[in-house]
């Protein structure tokens, strides 16, 4: 197929005087820009008894800054029609701002203030903590969430990936305001953080502005610690819930994003259960079996070894049959590998659909935040299609045997008791 040009998305990368790495993509089609700060302060840093500390800290950003209350901050962002958002996963936290050119100057100033001069007002801390506790309770209404949380607990043992990034009701309650302030001081630092800028900006001008606003922020974020992984073993866990449909997660610990085999596995997984409406699992479980509306598999790209997991849902009575079919399909896949044609089709899908996934300012900023965090290189978006094309059938057959072990799968089923 025609080579879709990605040349427009080569970010300009530089460091501010304080060591903050900045990636800028000038995309001056529409009058707005997206800013996204990546801070190496995910929930892997949480002590077990304070699970949720990193998440709470990220959620306190925007809840008070020097001279501004939480309400005033929201009022100001929203008067500009700007969106401010924070999120915190297992590896890192992100903070983003989307703002029109008309309000860019004021919006960026407020963004910097909120990030660099947070006040953690005690009354807002109590409120946000209660909100997180409520969120966690609400998450447990969703059987898919329950299944995936249990799956992580089952496969990760004592590794911090076993905990949800939000933590648990009791551990969140145990976090104090002082601990949040301390976590902010020790982890929210420019050396190690990355700032992505995409949209209607001039790289030289924005560099000056960022130096003014962020240059005084000083310090180096701590390194990520090393953690042990438990040994992989087959197990089956059932959780009872009053549901009409069993939620099933199957898999084991996979690989880290930095593993040189990651791209090969990514291509292999596309054949097995990747995106789109074509995959072995989609065909067998949905098209042939009529078991499930959604079924997919994924190697979650992560700093540490992320999970390899297969997710599906089917009515309670059919759960066991569906699991058998999934296992059979995966065993066959690992044993025989994909056909040459399946591999070529998967590669064409991945390379062809790639430009579609990075065609708005927000999508580009999100993708680059991931690329910057994992140090994949500023030319990653341009190299990606060639990396996919280079994967061979032999390589795929080798890596699936090496990294997918159906006989060692953990199986988690959330379903109605008695079925």
């Amino acid at each position: 197929m025609a080579q879709v040009s990605l040349a427009k998305i080569t970010p300009y990368v530089f460091k501010l005087s304080n060591g903050l790495e900045v990636w800028v993509v000038e995309r001056r089609v529409l009058p707005f820009a997206v800013f996204k700060l990546v801070v190496p302060a995910g929930s892997v840093f949480d002590p077990d008894k304070k699970a949720g500390l990193a998440y709470l800290t990220a959620n306190m950003i925007g809840e008070g800054a020097k001279g501004l209350s939480a309400e005033e901050i929201s009022e100001r962002f929203e008067f500009m029609g700007a969106d401010f958002d924070s999120s915190c996963g297992k590896d890192y936290a992100t903070f983003s701002l989307r703002v029109t050119t008309r309000f860019l100057e004021d919006g960026l100033k407020l963004f910097a203030k909120v990030l660099l001069e947070p006040t953690f007002p005690p009354q807002e801390f109590v409120r946000v903590k209660n909100e997180v506790v409520g969120e966690i309770m609400k998450d447990h209404e969703d059987p898919g969430y329950v299944a995936s949380e249990k799956f992580a607990e089952v496969i990760y043992g004592n590794h911090p990936y076993h905990r949800p990034s939000k933590g648990y009701v009791e551990t969140v309650k145990a976090v104090s305001r002082d601990e949040v302030v301390e976590f902010y001081k020790s982890h929210y630092l420019p050396e190690g953080s990355k700032l992505i800028v995409v949209g209607d900006v001039d790289a030289d001008e924005i560099k000056k502005k960022l130096e003014e606003l962020f240059g005084g922020w000083l310090g180096k974020a701590p390194e990520y610690p090393k953690f042990e992984y438990p040994s992989v073993k087959a197990q089956k866990v059932e959780v009872a819930k009053e549901v009409t449909q069993a939620n099933i997660v199957i898999g084991h610990i996979g690989v880290s994003r930095s593993n040189p085999d990651f791209i090969k596995l990514y291509v292999a997984n596309q054949v097995l259960g990747g995106g789109g409406l074509v995959s072995r699992l989609f065909e067998r479980i949905r098209e042939k079996g009529g078991y499930s509306y959604a079924v997919y598999s994924v190697f979650v790209p992560s700093l540490y070894k992320g999970p390899f997991k297969i997710t599906l849902q089917t009515k309670n009575e059919r759960a066991e049959d569906a699991i058998k079919e999934v296992l059979d399909e995966v065993e066959k896949f690992v044993k025989e590998g994909p056909t040459q044609k399946e591999l070529e089709d998967a590669k064409r899908y991945l390379t062809g659909s790639f430009p579609l996934r990075i065609d708005t300012n927000t999508e580009i900023a999100d993708y680059l935040a991931f690329v910057a965090f994992h140090n994949l290189g500023r030319d990653y978006l341009n190299r990606f299609p060639d990396m996919i094309k280079a994967v061979t059938l032999e390589e795929v057959k080798e890596v699936i045997k090496k990294y997918i072990h159906p006989h060692k799968f953990a199986i988690v089923v959330v379903k109605k008791k008695g079925n």
Partner: protein, 439 residues
């Protein structure tokens, strides 16, 4: 936290806006067989979205057969003589395309997004399945179970979705917005192959469809291709028309859902309000945003910041429906707080608007938000095409989008108060509580 809200928003589509110096520059053409084509050229990225919109959705269904439009959408992926089951998706996939479809109350749409030079494949595939769909009995049965699983996933096992479904069913008694797009479980089960063939032959025709193409294409070339692939498809002789009117509501309606799996109470309510084309939609949009659009809205400030009675709360209104919809609000009740208290606070905020009016600065803020949303929305080919498709299938002209922001700018604080006092009345409200069983 936005993600938490999404499940609530399934019923009302995303906000849209138009106007200012930025506009959607479309070109349109109508084929002899009645097929309308709208093209927007955008050469900023070498991609294109191709969308076929049919004027059919749950609005066009009847009791006992609800969900048939959505089930038909699923069957559209099950093959024709020329492209047997699975072939369509394989072709799209190996050409690096994204494809899918969605069914709403007022429309059903199919799309492919891909490199601009793949456009002709869309034409070939979509023109084929517009009329040549094969209905294999076994495939049909299997797809029915897939859709029933979809209903279990999205509704039966999601207490908040169940609540929204109940509120709509109570708010509409004489109008098809009464039932959910996916249909009632028993109806899905009882739809026959004959039913679905009939539905297909009735509504899938060039004179009941609109094609929208946005991306790196030339309009004249698109028109030529559409002519080549769709030009010879005969129009349907008769497309049935429906007309409903929900009678005025004469008193508050209350529903509740008790769920063993709910962990916290949730409140969802809606007031009957006019839709697009009424002239009141602009003031209603601003009213909804003042009440519950974002963290600086009245509901959020009172319920979340001041009283700390809700985890999150909001209100929204989408005018883009064929018939009048609802201005909705919701609140996730905090642990230890009663839903009655939260409802009382919501009413105090509504009454505050009615008694004391709105601040001009508040109105200005909301207008800025709507204008910014319009600018953000222009960044995506898909989203622009979607807005055009929605307007065209609900009987409006897509150019409406280009004066939207200007019309929003014209709304005065008095206009907002006028629609608030007209529609935010208790006797015009349907409200539902989700209650954890045993609470």
């Amino acid at each position: 936290m936005l993600r938490v809200l999404l499940s609530v928003l399934v019923w009302c589509t995303i906000a849209f806006a138009g106007g200012g110096n930025l506009e959607i520059k479309g070109v349109e053409r109508v084929l002899k067989n009645g097929l309308k084509v709208i093209v927007v050229e955008d050469h900023s990225t070498p991609t294109v979205t191709f969308q076929v919109w049919y004027k059919v959705g749950s609005y066009y269904e009847r009791f006992g057969k609800t969900g048939i439009s959505h089930l038909l959408e699923h069957m559209m992926f099950k093959g024709t003589e020329k492209y047997p089951n699975g072939e369509f998706s394989k072709i799209v996939s190996r050409n690096g395309g994204q494809e899918n479809a969605f069914t709403s109350r007022d429309y059903t749409a199919y799309f492919e997004n891909w490199a601009a030079d793949r456009l002709e494949i869309s034409m070939e595939l979509e023109s084929d399945r517009m009329v040549n769909l094969k209905f294999d009995p076994e495939e049909f049965d299997r797809e029915k179970s897939v859709v029933m699983e979809e209903r279990r996933l999205r509704t039966e096992d999601d207490p908040t979705s169940l609540l929204v479904e109940e509120v709509y069913a109570a708010a509409y008694k004489a109008h098809p917005y009464h039932w959910p797009v996916i249909g009632w479980m028993k109806d899905i089960e009882s739809i026959t192959l004959e039913d679905i063939k009939h539905h297909y032959r009735t509504f899938y025709a060039p004179n009941n469809a609109v094609i929208v193409v946005v991306g790196d294409v030339k309009a004249e070339e698109v028109f030529a291709l559409v002519e080549k692939y769709f030009g010879s498809t005969p129009p349907a002789k008769h497309i049935p028309e429906f007309s409903y009117e929900e009678p005025p509501q004469e008193g508050e309606r209350r529903v509740e859902v008790r769920s063993k799996e709910a962990r916290l109470p949730f409140i969802f309510g809606g007031f009957h309000v006019p839709n697009i084309g009424s002239g009141e939609e602009y003031a209603l949009k601003i009213l909804a945003a003042i009440l519950g659009g974002g963290r600086s809205s009245r509901l959020y400030k009172r319920l979340v910041f001041k009283e700390q009675a809700a985890l999150y709360t909001g209100a929204y209104y989408s005018s883009k429906t064929k018939d009048p919809g609802l201005l909705c609000f919701y609140a996730a009740v905090k642990p230890g707080v009663s839903p009655e208290k939260v409802e009382k606070l919501i009413w105090e905020e509504i009454e505050g608007i009615l008694k004391n009016g709105v601040d001009p600065k508040e109105v200005e803020k909301v207008k800025n938000q709507i204008e910014a949303e319009f600018v953000y929305g222009l960044d995506s080919n898909f989203y622009r095409a979607m807005n055009i498709g929605i307007l065209e299938t609900i009987g409006m002209d897509w150019r409406y989008l280009n004066s939207y922001v200007d019309n929003i700018r014209k709304v005065s604080p008095e206009d907002v108060i006028r629609v608030a006092s007209k529609y935010l009345r208790k006797e015009n409200l349907t409200i539902g509580y989700l209650l954890p069983e045993g609470s």
